[in-house]
């Protein structure tokens, strides 16, 4: 292609210059349009984004509510202590930093292990404790060297404390660091915002059940931060509101006496105020120290608790299911009266055994109890009477009647994870077993159920609830530990219902027959030894739950290994005419009910009704041996 003369070249150049100028203006107009879009049309959006960038909400964790017994004695509280905390993202070499700190602050291998575990569980920007409960000296030492440790700081934090240690641990439960599972519960409650900054969550017991009452309302501080998240200044602040306090129906002194009465034996006790369902004492021994869990339990402690054959972490009162043994008999008798299967005075000649379907069911008294009416059947705990009765009533009647007393269903106590137990019935068996031959209900099985053995398995809280319901003439309450929740801000007390769950369709005259017989137990029967000289009238029933099937051999306590020995049970109420307390006691492998469990009930009643303290530690009443069953 050929190009023209210089003049034309110049014209062409100038036209291109003009074009370039136009192009520049178009491009700048484009930029300006973009600026208008960002700075005028979208301005509000970007201003919000800028504020979100710079304003950070720093949560202020509220004080957790206190837990107090019915007299205001504190069982769970908070104390402030200094912790040494590291923000892992702000530390270049974590190991070197911890080693440096260890030069003047006592950091044990278990602290490092715990810190590592926390790091795995936590979010990126959290500051995590490497050491808790620093001494004043350690605080001073760190402050003097703080400049050497960027990303490490000392913080004053509130810690949960259970001042009485292992006391009532199964009631109180404990708190631990928030886990994924806890987060799911928090989300369920729509409480994520309120849990920002919260590090602990109730794991068991009341701490778990009343978590959202105890937690309180988190306060917030609006802080201006730079891009590194470092606070520059505070813009606004809303104060946290402490969690609500729990006042229990529990009586600390009573609980103490009950726990001590067990000595080093394993077992459970539940004492209920029949007229309200309020729990006066709830014992599961052995206990554990909930303080171990507060800042993360060490693996050594955890293994020790978990591997102990005594199973201290199991709440026997709610999760131990035991055959009720003879403590089942008063309810069997009441069922017989209600269904018209027996009259109280109707007597049976007891030959000492009962033959059924080619099998002989033995009464444990050789030669039998002679002529036995309903009163005597309870006072002397005659098995034969109930073998025959069970057969006469039939399993469906038994199951229906017992179900009303709450046997085999959760009581709804304000602690989570309660077991159901087993109320045996053909329907239950069908559900429980897979093979058709196992699913069939045999009439012989009904006979065992009649004396509280066989498939029967109930939790001590169920036994206590049934006892309280009977003592309260059939008016049933949900057992509960918290009497009222106190709002810390207003001081308003929200009482926990004592509204009756239901009133059982029972006749008062029938109830009176059974109560009278149970008074007889403590006066002249299997409980008489334990209640000798009591200054009040009480009703009770002993029971022995078989752990080991004797297969016809004579039971010899000394020949059987301790863990295979029978469980000792006792249910009781007092005073007989207007019951203020009803309880169930279980001593694992304690042998006869009269021997191990009944004396514990006596001590509890003596204190609750008379204010009488037991003479020293719980003595096992060896003399009561021959009386039971």
């Amino acid at each position: 292609m050929e190009f023209k003369n210089p003049q034309e070249d110049l014209e062409q150049f100038n036209s291109r210059v003009a074009f370039a100028g136009g192009f520049v203006l178009v491009c700048f107009a484009l930029l300006f349009a973009r600026f208008v879009w960002l700075q005028v049309i979208q301005h509000d959006y970007y201003r919000t984004r800028a504020d979100e960038n710079r304003i950070s909400l720093v949560p202020i964790t509220p004080n957790r509510g206190l837990i107090m017994d019915r007299n205001g004695i504190v069982l769970a509280r908070n104390y402030s202590a200094y912790t040494l905390e590291i923000t892992p993202t702000q530390v270049r070499d974590l190991e070197a930093t911890i080693d440096g700190l260890a030069e003047f602050i006592d950091i044990e291998p278990k602290d490092r292990k715990r810190f590592k575990k926390l790091m795995e569980e936590s979010k990126r920007f959290e500051s995590l404790p490497i050491r808790t409960r620093l001494t004043d000296e350690e605080v001073a030492k760190f402050i003097a060297r703080r400049f050497r440790f960027p990303g490490v700081d000392i913080k004053a934090r509130l810690f949960r404390q259970y001042p009485r240690g292992a006391f009532a641990s199964h009631v109180l439960g404990y708190i631990g660091r928030v886990t994924e599972r806890d987060m799911a519960r928090i989300e369920q409650q729509d409480a994520e915002a309120n849990y920002r900054g919260t590090e602990h969550f109730g794991k068991t017991g009341l701490e778990q059940h009343y978590e959202f009452e105890l937690h309180g309302a988190t306060g917030f501080e609006q802080v201006e931060v730079d891009s590194g998240g470092r606070p520059v200044r505070t813009l606004a602040r809303s104060a946290p509101v402490a969690g609500n306090n729990l006042t229990l129906t529990l009586d600390v002194k009573l609980q103490e006496i009950a726990e001590q009465a067990f000595g080093d034996r394993k077992g459970a006790l539940v004492a209920i105020e029949p007229a309200t369902g309020g729990i006066l004492a709830l014992v599961s021994v052995p206990n554990y120290d909930p303080n171990l869990f507060v800042d993360g339990i060490t693996s050594a402690d955890w293994e020790a608790l978990n591997n102990s054959p005594a199973k201290p972490m199991v709440n026997r009162a709610l999760n131990g299911a035991y055959p009720p043994g003879s403590t089942f008999k008063p309810y069997m008798a009441l069922g017989a009266l209600t269904l018209g299967k027996r009259r109280p005075e109707q007597a049976l000649a007891d030959p000492g055994f009962f033959n059924f379907g080619g099998h002989t069911f033995m009464d444990d008294k050789k030669g039998g109890h002679g002529m036995v009416d309903m009163y005597k059947s309870i006072v002397q705990s005659c098995n034969t009477y109930y073998y025959v009765l069970a057969n006469d009533m039939g399993i469906d009647n038994i199951a229906n009647f017992m179900g009303q007393f709450g046997f085999g269903s959760r009581t709804g106590i304000d602690i989570e994870g309660e077991s159901e137990g087993v109320l045996p019935s053909p329907a239950w068996k069908k559900k429980r077993f897979k093979k058709p031959e196992q699913q069939k209900w045999y009439a012989g099985e009904t006979i065992s159920v009649g004396i509280g053995q066989g498939y029967n398995a109930y939790t001590p809280i169920q036994l206590a609830q049934a006892m309280a319901t009977l003592a309260n003439d059939g008016v049933m309450y949900r057992p509960h530990l918290v009497r009222h929740v106190t709002d810390t801000r207003s001081g308003a007390k929200t009482p926990v219902e004592p509204q009756p769950l239901r009133t059982l369709p029972l006749k008062q005259e029938h109830i009176d027959v059974i109560k009278h017989a149970m008074v007889g137990v403590n006066k002249e029967g299997t409980g008489a030894r334990a209640f000798a000289g009591a200054e009040y009238v009480s009703g009770g029933k002993t029971g022995t739950a078989q752990v080991y099937s004797l297969r016809g051999a004579k039971y010899n306590k000394d020949a059987v290994k301790q863990e295979l020995r029978d469980h000792s049970l006792f249910i009781a109420f007092a005073p007989a005419d207007a019951p203020q307390i009803a309880l169930a006691v279980l001593v694992e492998n304690g042998g006869f009910g009269a021997q191990a469990a009944a004396p514990i009930a006596r001590q509890v009643f003596d204190y609750y009704l008379l204010g009488k303290l037991p003479p020293g530690a719980a003595p096992a009443d060896e003399d009561a041996k021959e009386a039971d069953e």
């Binding site: 070249d9 930029l31 970007y46």
Partner: protein, 361 residues
């Protein structure tokens, strides 16, 4: 006496250009005082050096510049080859040449050497510009650009390429060729996609959807658009930009200084800045139109449009309509080399303007 000296000193200085430049430098100082006050002294030093360089160049007649064109270009290409062979790697790119006593970035030199060389080449073949001359010019352009692309340094290669392209454009490359090349480039874009480095592809993807990785690759763009948008019409006021002061804007004294300026002075400030750049470019184009020789015309036109490229690419990327490439805001961003290069360009414009009549006489 002093007046005479002063008169001699300012003799080659073009008043309008100097006024616009002075205002831009003032903006640079004001913004830097907010973005990074600690760098003010260094910035003033840079400005002093750059003004001196400008003044020196402004005094050189275009003929002298012409004589420098070929040696400067060859020297630049040589250095680029040296960089490719022995260069230092910094931040994953081989851009620097360590001469023992000084580390230099030869691609920066090319921003001036390229338009000089091409303008010189077209001047030499003024009377017979045929297809062959354009092909040779294209080769002169592409060799160093290819070397810079390989470093890799996308920002500088765009600037060097456009500086050369502007010369060819003003030299009269026919429109149908330009449009044809444009169409070819558009058609080849999917193919070129594969030639890009991963990080360059990432930048383009980030531009399309910065929120995909808000704390990583999208962070720059998101934070700078937040800064600009939150500035509003009047801005938050000098020193009051939270995005800038709380360090949410990365590289806020260099490539992203426009975000700081825009957050604190708002749409109004942006308008003033755009007007200043428009005036600067207008003055440059006027100088080009009035220049005496083809060499001077081409050089002045190309240099002026480079200023435009800097400004447009920088503001475009900071406001999120162009991918992030390392292009500073001309005369405002911190960085001594870039400032000197830009002011050399101003000096050349002044020299061309001063000498617009001499040749014809």
């Amino acid at each position: 006496m002093i007046r005479a000296l002063w008169g001699k000193l300012v003799a080659p200085i073009d008043g309008p250009l100097m006024t616009i430049l002075g205002l831009l430098l003032l903006f640079a100082l004001v913004t830097m005082a907010s973005a990074s006050p600690a760098r003010l002294t260094t910035l003033l030093t840079h400005m002093a050096i750059a003004l001196t360089a400008m003044r020196v160049v402004a005094q050189l007649p275009p003929q002298r510049l012409m004589r420098l064109a070929l040696p400067l270009y060859l020297f630049g290409v040589l250095l680029l080859v040296a960089v490719a062979l022995f260069g230092d790697i910094s931040k994953g790119a081989r851009r620097w040449l360590d001469l023992g006593f000084i580390r230099i970035q030869p691609s920066e030199l090319m921003k001036i050497a390229m338009p000089l060389m091409l303008a010189w080449y077209f001047q030499r073949h003024e009377s017979r510009l045929r297809l062959k001359e354009y092909v040779v010019a294209t080769l002169i352009l592409l060799v160093p650009v290819a070397l810079i692309v390989r470093q890799p340094d996308l920002g500088t290669s765009i600037l060097v390429f456009s500086s050369g392209f502007f010369v060819i454009f003003f030299a009269g490359l026919p429109w149908k060729v330009i449009l044809g090349l444009g169409a070819t480039a558009a058609a080849a874009a999917p193919f070129a996609w594969h030639l890009l480095h991963d990080y360059q592809r990432q930048r383009i993807l980030t531009l399309l959807d910065p929120e995909k990785d808000p704390l990583g690759k999208g962070f720059h763009i998101i934070q700078s658009t937040i800064a600009i948008g939150s500035g509003g019409i009047l801005g938050k006021g000098w020193g009051q930009g939270t995005q800038a002061q709380l360090e949410f804007i990365p590289e806020r004294h260099t490539d992203f200084i426009f975000a700081v300026y825009s957050e604190e002075f708002g749409l109004l400030g942006n308008l003033v800045l755009l007007v200043l750049y428009s005036l600067l470019i207008g003055r440059g184009l006027l100088i080009a139109a009035n220049a005496a020789t083809l060499f001077a015309r081409l050089l002045a036109g190309a240099i002026t449009l480079i200023f435009f490229t800097y400004a447009f690419v920088n503001m475009g990327m900071v406001s999120g309509i162009l991918p992030v490439v390392g292009v500073p805001l001309p005369f405002v961003s911190y960085g001594g080399t870039a400032l000197v290069t830009l002011m050399l360009g101003i000096g050349i414009l002044m020299s061309i303007h001063k000498n617009r009549m001499l040749v014809q006489k």
